[in-house]
Symmetry: C2
DNA sequence: ATGAAAGCGCTAACAG
DNA sequence: CTGTTAGCGCTTTCAT
């Protein structure tokens, strides 16, 4: 054989295959992409396929993407990807996204959403971008470079689609539930991060409670981190005074926080739900196991992710791409199967 | 001005910038990559930077990667990314990985690990690949095309690195704990999926129990899916017979399963931990909240992900890249702060 | 200090 | 049916 001009440890290229099969790279491309239908002799195709196999050739996706001017990566960024809520959103997103699109997750380097991460996302050449629970200030500083979907931002922005949970319905459902049980003095435990969506949850609840003659009667308690541990600590400190002030139900911005309140109640000897009702938003998959007496509002996180995936799929690979306007899912809030106090 | 030859809606290219700043693309490249140090006149640099700003130019990463023959994407695939255990691994992985590397998550389309997903991963041009809990049959059918790390595979394969949790130590810790509390008849609830790592957990426990005069005295119960709900259902069915056969402790392959057993116990009126001790592997972040009386073994999932990230970072961007041999972390298993029965 | 030119590996017209 | 050719947008010698 003539001297080998190529490093054998390198991954085989279409040229290598073409050489071995004694055809042109164009033919290899056709076959490798399954576009050979009736355009290439069966015999030629056989030779090429064999060469592909022996050389273990695979298309270089980078080169392919460049040549086609195609982008196939959708990025997802959330403030706290480790949080079960976002895991659920991600689950819905990833499992519904068109298989031709690949999903990459940008992990915030700092504690909450950081601008740097998002900037990095914008800088890369993405086919689409999903921003979960971005804060308003963040949105002020960025301009989309590709189809962008805002999840639970609690607001709309020109040029970006946004999808929100139906918080109002959630508030209605929860208020109905609580008032129906005879509660009128409610406390709220949330997270201090500036997320409109979190405020919305609280506000919707308050509004609906008031419409029913009840109310959040003590100042909100806001913890720094969305963790069960921080809620526990805070609840240990404030529960006694809440009880003293006649509070009979506490609602948390997220189930994770509610777990902490439940644990605090147990430690303080406050019985749930007899003495105190505890509720949270999200209804994580194991929430009912954590405590059958926990009330949670199903925010349908997975469905939210799936909706985003469908929208993106339509925009990016769909035949009838809709204008990237604002769309909004209405997801019904429902009460959990919690056994309410009688 | 001369007629514009370029579609203005297109993203600006280096050529556009060069044209506007009246320099060559080479110069633009230098500046955009921050390699202009002393190689370009301050005045030229200023002009180019301004052009970059006005055109909102950003490097096309696809083209850049192609030109440099560089790959910067690490893929992660796990059987069930929605499972909190894998979320933790992912968290450790994503937050420790070098910022120059991007992480993409491949979501299995079918129920468990599917070959298709992994094939897709192998086919793409990846810088690295992390396979979490791959089954043996899967590993038999694939050959790595890039640095590959096996997490919790329970085995080693030529050409791939593997990192496992120190299951033996976990078994020792748990056996010590249980036997120390006076248990001698233990039951095991796991998942039926063929994952050596899950068998290893069970076997290590059994081995260590026997070394201490105790044992798993009833046949293992294996559920199909790693969910709290399926464990609940199964536990409701088998707990009575276990109790009847003198079982005083049940160990689950994962905390998620243990939650189900806890709930079943409550429903059946079996008190935990007085009448029955319940333990699980993993120690998820909220496990102690689920029930303070749940014993769990911390498998340090997050640390596992972080180790993988460190290894990958070293191999891919590290100065002193080590040969991709097998490395193994020894992570200490520890008991949770569960209040054991007295 | 700057530019011209080659080429990364692939795809898509267009010839033949 | 198959090959030739011209890029995709960027990086990188090598001249000037």
């Amino acid at each position: 054989m003539s001297g080998m001009t190529r490093d054998p440890s390198r991954r085989a290229t279409a040229r290598d295959v073409a050489q071995l099969a004694e055809v042109s790279v164009a033919t290899v491309s056709l076959i490798a992409n399954g576009k050979a239908a009736g355009r290439v002799t069966p015999e030629t195709e056989r030779r090429v396929r064999e060469a592909i196999r022996t050389l273990d050739y695979r298309i270089n996706t980078t080169a392919s993407a460049l040549a086609q001017g195609r982008r196939d990566t959708v990025a997802f960024v959330s403030p706290d990807p480790g949080n079960p809520f976002f895991s659920l959103v991600l689950d819905g997103l990833a499992s519904t996204l068109d298989p031709s699109l690949s999903l990459t997750i940008l992990w915030p380097r700092s504690d909450d959403y950081d601008l740097v991460t998002v900037q990095r996302a914008l800088a890369g050449d993405l086919a689409g971008l999903v921003l979960a629970s971005p804060g308003s200030e963040l949105l002020d500083t960025i301009s989309p470079t590709c189809p962008t979907i805002l999840l639970e931002s609690g607001e709309t922005r020109p040029g970006m689609s946004s999808m929100d949970l139906d918080v109002e319905a959630a508030g209605t459902g929860l208020a109905d539930h609580l008032v129906g049980l005879g509660h009128s003095r409610v406390a709220y435990l949330g997270v201090s991060r500036d997320k409109s969506t979190l405020h919305h949850r609280r506000d919707a609840l308050h509004r609906q409670l008031q419409a029913r003659g009840a109310a959040i009667t003590v100042p909100d308690e806001l913890v720094e981190r969305m963790t069960t541990a921080s809620a526990l600590e805070r609840a240990l400190a404030v529960l006694p005074s809440w009880i003293e002030r006649g509070v009979t139900a506490v609602v948390c911005g997220d189930d994770l926080l509610a777990y902490g309140v439940l644990e605090a109640s147990a430690r303080l000897g406050i019985s749930v739900p007899q003495q105190l009702s505890v509720a949270g938003f999200n209804n994580l998959p194991f929430s009912s196991m954590v405590s059958p007496s926990l009330t949670s509002v199903d925010l349908s996180a997975r469905e939210l992710g799936a909706s985003a995936a469908r929208a993106l799929t339509e925009m990016l690979v769909g035949a009838d791409a809709p204008a990237p306007t604002t769309l909004r899912t209405h997801i019904v809030a429902r009460e959990s199967t919690a056994r309410a106090r009688s």
